[in-house]
Every structure is written in C-alpha cells, then in structure tokens.
C-alpha cells in the first residue's frame, strides 16, 4: 500500500479529497432525516390578529413533520412569497398582510419572538407557535 501511495501521490491525495468531500456532502444531506426528528409530536398553532378583527384561531396538530413550515403547508392556511428555501409569509387564515401599509406576520415560539424562519424552525413536542399580525416596524 505504501509503495502504491509513493508511486502515485497525486492520485492518492485526489482520491482522499474526493472521498472526504463525498462523506461530508452525503452526511450533510442526510442529517435532517434523522429518525429522532421524525417522531410523533403534538403542538399548538395559534393565529392572532388583534389589529382590526380581534381574531384568534387555534390548531392542535399531531405530526411527524420536522419543520413548522411543513405543518402550516399541510394545514393549507398559508400563502408565501419568495423562494422555496427562504419563504416570507404574506397571508395566514385568509388574512393578507399588505406591505405597502407596513403589515406583516411574525411568529412566537412559546411566547418568545422567533429568531428563525418557519422553514428553519424545527418543532418540538408540546411547543406552542403563535402567529401574530403586526402593523408597523417598531
């Protein structure tokens, strides 16, 4: 083996780099499909619009989905703009946020303002997700 490596060092190094890259690439791609993430979870989703309608709607969901984005897609209560990777919520439960009037949908995880988008928020069993209709940016 050593003789072979010494005879063809370029080929050996190139192969090593390609194998390393392949391990990292497939490891990265399969990471979110971890079985632990796909266990059954029971969560609460609340949609609140205190602005004009004093509207509140609660969904109790039992799911095996991983992200919050997948669940609200399954419920069919949402409309988006932007790409499929980084989506921006424009309408929830039929209530549309008009950007020209500084209206937007924000969401809270267990009453704390979320630091991630819906597609990068992994849900946890028993968590409560509240979508709130906001006007203004302050």
């Amino acid at each position: 083996m050593r003789k072979l490596i010494r005879s063809y060092p370029r080929a050996f190094c190139s192969l090593l780099i390609i194998v390393l890259a392949a391990i990292m690439f497939f490891g990265f791609r399969n990471y979110p499909k971890d079985e632990q993430l796909q266990t059954e979870k029971r969560i609460t989703i609340e949609v609140v619009n205190d602005n004009a309608l004093h509207y509140t709607n609660t969904y109790e969901v039992t799911t095996k989905s991983i992200t919050l984005g997948e669940i609200i897609d399954e419920l069919g209560i949402v409309q988006y703009s932007g790409s499929t990777i980084n989506r921006y919520i424009t309408s929830l439960d039929g209530m549309e946020a008009d950007e020209t009037r500084k209206e937007w949908w924000g969401f809270y995880i267990n009453d704390e303002f979320a630091q991630t988008g819906v597609d990068s928020t992994n849900i946890k069993d028993g968590d409560k997700y509240t979508f709130v209709f906001n006007v203004g940016y302050q």
Partner: protein, 173 residues
C-alpha cells in the same frame, strides 16, 4: 533584497494585488470557487513575505468595492495569515506542487472555521458550531476547488510567475 521597498517593487506588488482582485471578481458568481488562495500562495513562493502587502492591498480593494461588513474581520486576518503560513513552509511549497495543493485545500476548508470562532465569541459556542455545520457544504466546495485549481494550474504558473518576476525585478527599464 533591500529592507525598504523601491518604487519598482511597490508597482509590482500593487499590480499583483490588482490581478488577485480581478481574479476574485471574475469568479465571484461561483460559490466559494476562487483564485485568491491560489494566487497568494504562488506569489508568496516567489516574492516571499512581501506578498503580505499584496494581501492588504487586496483587502483594501475589496472594502472599497463591497463596503465594510462582518466578513472584513475574517479577510483582514485570514489572507495575511495565509501569506505567513506559506512563508513558514516556503521550502516545501517551492519543491512540491502537491504540497501546495493539499495546503490550499486545508486552508479553504478552514476558512469558515475562523468565522465560526468569531461567532462562538460573540453569540456562544453552539451558535458558532451551528454556523460552521450549516456552511460545511460550501466549505467542502472551497476545499475541492482550491485543491484542483492548484493541482492543475500550480506547476506551470509557478514557473511562469517566477520567470516573470525575475525579468521585471532584475532587468533595467
């Protein structure tokens, strides 16, 4: 080589920095595929520690072109560090193109690691780890591209730049 830079040297170093910057802009649309590591390693092999001026001029050009951002912390430290590391292994670098290729691949992979350390210090250990893991795919692309660029082009450009440098430095105008 005298300690003070001559005007001729200044001009050569500035022109090299502009070439490095142009290479960067030319491949800017490709994610993490760049010629800056490649060029800086080769130039350091030929010019030596004075390539650090090229690294700083290059960073300055980047700031002028793109403005100041979080990435500046990395650039202002990482490119001069690359030059210093290359100087440290200069003998081996000049002897073997494969060594240069493996070195530039390692540097490419570790580039994001430096930003992760900064994020670790600012936002906590796990945020830094998550930042690195989230970008590992791009770090891998950086590693592979650096390796193959050096492996395929390094040998010939090393000889060519060496000849060019000697002809510019040691011939009278």
């Amino acid at each position: 080589m005298s300690k003070k830079l001559t005007v001729k040297e200044m001009l050569i170093l500035t022109m090299c920095a502009v070439i490095v910057f142009t290479c960067k802009i030319a491949l800017a649309s490709l994610p993490n595929i760049e010629l800056v590591t490649f060029m800086l390693i080769l130039l350091t092999c030929i010019i030596g520690i004075r390539t650090i001026y090229i690294a700083f001029i290059y960073v300055m050009l980047e700031i002028l072109f793109y403005g100041i951002g979080f990435w500046v912390c990395g650039y202002i430290f990482m490119w001069p560090l690359l030059v210093c590391l290359t100087v440290l292994f200069k003998k081996k670098m000049n002897e073997s193109n494969l060594f240069r290729a493996v070195f530039s691949a390692l540097f490419g992979f570790c580039f994001d690691l430096f930003y992760s350390i900064i994020i670790c210090m600012i936002s906590g250990f796990w945020t830094g780890i998550m930042y690195f893991l989230a970008g590992i795919l791009f770090s891998t692309v950086h590693m592979i591209s650096n390796y193959f660029i050096m492996l395929l082009l390094g040998e010939k450009l090393h000889i060519f730049l060496g000849k060019l440098y000697i002809s510019y430095m040691y011939t009278e105008p």
